[in-house]
């Protein structure tokens, strides 16, 4: 232990118990020592558990504002985010009854249920990737929006569509010209639901939702409940 080997400093480093020079020297060592990086990562996890054994005074009221303002002030130094336009939808004309090939229909929805959330973390990431950089077009017919990322991946946000009755399901559609593609099934229900569409949305295109029999269909058979027209930026 006291042989001066830098390997043994991983615990002290994780506890922030090295002084400035020691820390600097150890970080130089870390850069070239995979084993030490693993040790440190594991010890950091243990050390940060210690943070849970502190009393929790009320948060100072202005601290959040201070932090957000300071972060905002720094933003010009960050990579500027591209601005794109989202144009509210025109009403969707009747869906052309064009047969579409149904390929692997699936969809997800996010609920606030913790278990559910954990089980779909991976899919959730895809939803987040879309939501964090997308053009948003509000839907008509019912409250919601379509978010389309530059990758053409899209997420439908549906607010409080009544839960589909037993034997029924909501089905999303991506309509490009006369080409109608099924883009996912979801059950609806109270609150906000996110549906990662299974088809890309390449503007100009329309996204629509109908209520169909359980299991979904390959072309819409009922009236459109919710729709949005995604226009090129």
């Amino acid at each position: 232990m006291n042989d001066g080997s830098p390997h043994e400093l991983s615990a002290a480093y994780a506890l922030d118990a090295l002084d400035g020079d020691e820390r600097e020297a150890y970080e130089t060592h870390l850069a070239g020592c995979e084993r030490c990086r693993e040790d440190v990562a594991s010890f950091r996890t243990t050390a940060s558990a210690l943070a849970y054994d502190v009393d929790l005074p009320p948060l100072p009221e202005t601290l959040e504002h201070r932090i957000i303002s300071a972060a905002r002030a720094e933003r010009p130094n960050v990579v500027p985010l591209r601005q794109r336009v989202a144009i509210p939808a025109a009403a969707l004309s009747a869906v052309a009854a064009v047969a579409a090939v149904a390929i692997g229909i699936w969809a997800i929805h996010l609920s606030s249920s913790l278990d559910h959330q954990k089980s779909i973390r991976k899919d959730q990431k895809a939803v987040i990737d879309v939501l964090s950089d997308c053009s948003r077009t509000p839907t008509q017919g019912s409250s919601g929006a379509i978010c389309v990322a530059p990758t053409e991946k899209a997420v439908l946000i549906a607010d409080s569509l009544p839960a589909a009755s037993p034997g029924k399901t909501y089905e999303a559609w991506v309509i490009t010209g006369k080409h109608v593609q099924p883009a996912g099934l979801f059950p609806g229900g109270a609150g906000r639901k996110y549906v990662l569409l299974t088809k890309p949305v390449r503007a100009p295109a329309k996204v629509a939702v109908t209520l169909e029999k359980r299991g979904g269909v390959s072309a819409p058979t009922t009236a459109i409940l919710l729709q949005a027209e995604v226009k090129p930026s």
Partner: protein, 205 residues
Amino acid sequence: MISLRGRRTERSQATARELAHLSDEAVVALVARSDEHALAELYHRFGRLAYGLAFRILRDDALAQDAVQEAFLGAWRAAGRFTAERAKPSTWLLTLVHRRAVDLVRREERRRTEPLQPEMEPAGGEAPDAAELATQRQTIREALRRLPAEQREAIELAYYGGYTQSELAERLGEPLGTIKSRMFTGLARLREELGEDARVRVGPA
């Protein structure tokens, strides 16, 4: 039929309502994209713990606020380099807070003679995750209690007191090697006590 309601530019920052559903990792991913709502969400999740930790070390409201602010700004700048494989977001953030607080306490030399004596009453349980925090607190407390006294002392003085290993050697009148050994063995044992799933157990889900 409304054909055009004017060209509306909309930077799609996720709203607070959307963010509440997300995993910590997803929120950090949004922070990496300079989404300030996501930064606020991160603060809502961990601000209280961060401030509690900084206050425990610094014993001063203004300094604790500075430490927390610097840590969150550090997170704002570095979120793009956060890798979920290495650490949970809670570990990452608490590490930032701890380091800021320790650096400040050393700079300010504000440490009191007895840094381990908690001064504040635990705040009321109005936070929605209070029960979970209490469970985690209980877990770490029990794990600490099972450590040999001298290992626990070295770890607590280092983590909550902000002492360096050399300062500890001087304070406790032990050779530096002994202090290093206590910290290493103690932390390794604590890791064992907290179990293989310590990664899962620390941090609000």
